[in-house]
Symmetry: C2
Subunit: 375 residues, 2 copies
């Protein structure tokens, strides 16, 4: 068997008892993630030479932590996103102290992925906002009727919010069924756009099982929704990617982080850069939601810097996408966030939009005013 | 709006600075997982009374840890597995120190789920092994050709292994393409069964994007595979559930833990009981693979006891399934494992099967002999 010789690599942060232990763990990864076979029994030749992972470098960061770059033959991933992630972090997700810090994907592998359909520039074009930071809010709380949510969507659009999405907890509950909610909310935002000559979009949450996700996406598009939100840790990443790739849907896709936080909170797992940046892009998201620093979640400023980098750094033909940090937005916090993200950011403001004052439209205008300073 | 009044609950283990902090976190979960709205702004009446989660009990385990049972209206989950998991652990997956210890699902919610098609008794019937522990192995290493893997499958079946599955790293690589591999391996096991008058089954790994998973499952069935393996952390749980529910497929489904370990390794996440037991069952698995205690992974004996309980405790009409602990199987370790699992276990033996001696058939017979003592 001859392979192409093309390899991709994964940068791992490995915690061990000492340098020797860290290196031994890097060696273990080479086998665990490919042949999953005792090293002494791996057949010499093709399998040992080409299939087993290869330590390209191993840099000790401190006594108990190293950064190891391990490469794999491109063919081990079989051109599949599921198998790529399986090689990068399948079994070792069950071993403590191993963090995927970065994916370095080869052209051959990347050519299997279309990536985001819109990306930063496509989304800016749709919203007719060529330069400024964007604003994003969620319709909630769960328990409101479709009519009440639509009224809220109308007010947010009147107030100048760019992206008005379902809260990720709104799926198809009896109190606001998907089909009715989506029709009414899309209509409400369209009505407001006519009044304001604005370009707000309504984004429907289509998180469900695979076929139902597609059914909802199609219905949302027909109803006039101009974007889709999905939580891939609940649905599977490929369900999100199929939405993005489907030419009959062709709507922007926003990635919600629900149910996936465990990957970034441990001493092992997947780095913020990879999970909210690289993987979201590979799986077709145009924007990636996560909790901003300084809010009610625990992400640090540095972790958010890394997310911004992950959404924007070069990745072959895969488009750059928007980071969409949520929470903690205030007059005082915006300059610091702009310092981290620049203007290529979609601020997600949820509860704060309702807390600011009694009039939702005025609250929207206030926050819109804050970012219009950065045009 | 009137709801049914039926509620389900989630038992959380919460880490805080002290008892007051633990309780405040439990209160926060009630809002975060439902309305995601500042408590002071939640409308009184229906939403506050019915939609916001409710602390049913909160027991302080020690100074910095409590067990809180929080109930939710059944309707918040909308009859969807994705949304059930979103209510149980969506946003709070991104908050540190919160572990889902147990799901207590109501009859209304459970009625949405068919659960495993075979379960313990169905799988025992298929394998014609009414009482003894079962044996399970994986075809590997990656890099072998379809013919080489088929030869190995034949030998394992001759040697008396009950379930012979693809290694989870074998998907559709050029060196052993899915379609060819599955046909040859299924045929090899069928041939061996004729010779031995045995009932070994070949299980194909169908982990891929949703439509391709179904295509591969159908092809596997046609080729004579008698089971399917899938890694739901890579595909999405609903992809596994659809396989199990599909009456045109109707094969046993084995759940592989790849890419999902981060849920169980942190101070927050999802307990072994819930992830490998309850969730696997809700999502249709007939057997749940995980690393056994005493092996090359880090699960403790107690964690494995909890997995065994999660696969076997009452859960309405949802069938009991097999725990399938992998790794570390030896003459010395079996009595301890039997003490944990009883006879209702599928021992997964991988590399060890090749390490024991030079003759694979003899090695299989050796391990089969070890468990035949427990008939």
């Amino acid at each position: 068997m001859r392979l192409s010789g093309e390899r991709f690599s994964v940068l791992y942060r490995i915690i061990g008892q000492d340098a020797g232990d860290c290196y031994a763990k890097a060696q273990d990864i080479c086998y665990e993630q490919t042949v999953e076979f005792p090293p002494e029994l791996v057949p010499a030749g093709f399998i040992m030479d080409e299939i087993v992972g290869r330590i390209e470098s191993c840099q000790q960061i401190n006594q108990t932590c190293c950064l190891a770059e391990i490469s794999y033959a491109a063919e081990t991933a079989a051109g599949e996103l599921t198998q790529l992630l399986n090689v990068a972090f399948g079994n070792i997700s069950i071993k403590p102290g191993i963090m995927v810090e970065r994916l370095n994907l080869s052209p051959l592998l990347l050519s299997n992925f279309q990536g985001p359909r819109f990306g930063r520039s496509g989304l800016r074009q749709l919203l007719q906002a060529p330069n400024r930071p964007l604003l994003h809010t969620a319709l909630k709380p769960m328990g409101l009727s479709a009519g009440e949510l639509a009224k809220m969507a109308y007010q947010c659009a009147i107030g100048g919010i760019d992206i008005i999405k379902d809260d990720h907890g709104l799926t198809d509950q009896c109190f606001a069924p998907f089909d009715e909610r989506v029709k009414r909310c899309a209509e409400a935002v369209a009505t407001a756009n006519i009044e304001t000559k604005g370009n707000s979009i309504y984004v429907a949450n289509v998180t469900a099982e695979p076929q139902e996700t597609v059914r909802r996406a199609r219905l949302a598009k027909e109803a006039g929704a101009q974007g889709l939100m999905i939580a891939p840790a609940l649905t599977g990443l490929e369900v999100m990617r199929n939405l993005a790739d489907d030419p009959t849907i062709a709507l922007p896709v926003i990635c919600h982080p629900a149910f996936g936080g465990s990957y970034v909170l441990g001493s092992g797992g997947i780095s913020h850069y990879v999970l909210y940046g690289q993987i979201a892009r590979l799986a077709g998201a145009d924007a990636s939601i996560y909790p901003n620093f300084g809010g009610r979640f625990s992400f640090s400023r540095e972790e958010c810097v890394n997310i911004a980098l992950g959404t924007g750094e070069e990745m072959g033909h895969i488009k750059k996408i928007f980071p969409s940090p949520g929470g903690g937005m205030s007059l005082n916090s915006i300059p610091d966030s702009i310092e981290v993200y620049g203007n290529d950011v979609i601020f997600l403001i949820g509860g704060g939009l309702f807390r600011h004052g009694p009039d939702l439209v005025e609250n929207c205008r206030y926050f819109r005013g804050l970012i219009d300073n950065y045009s």
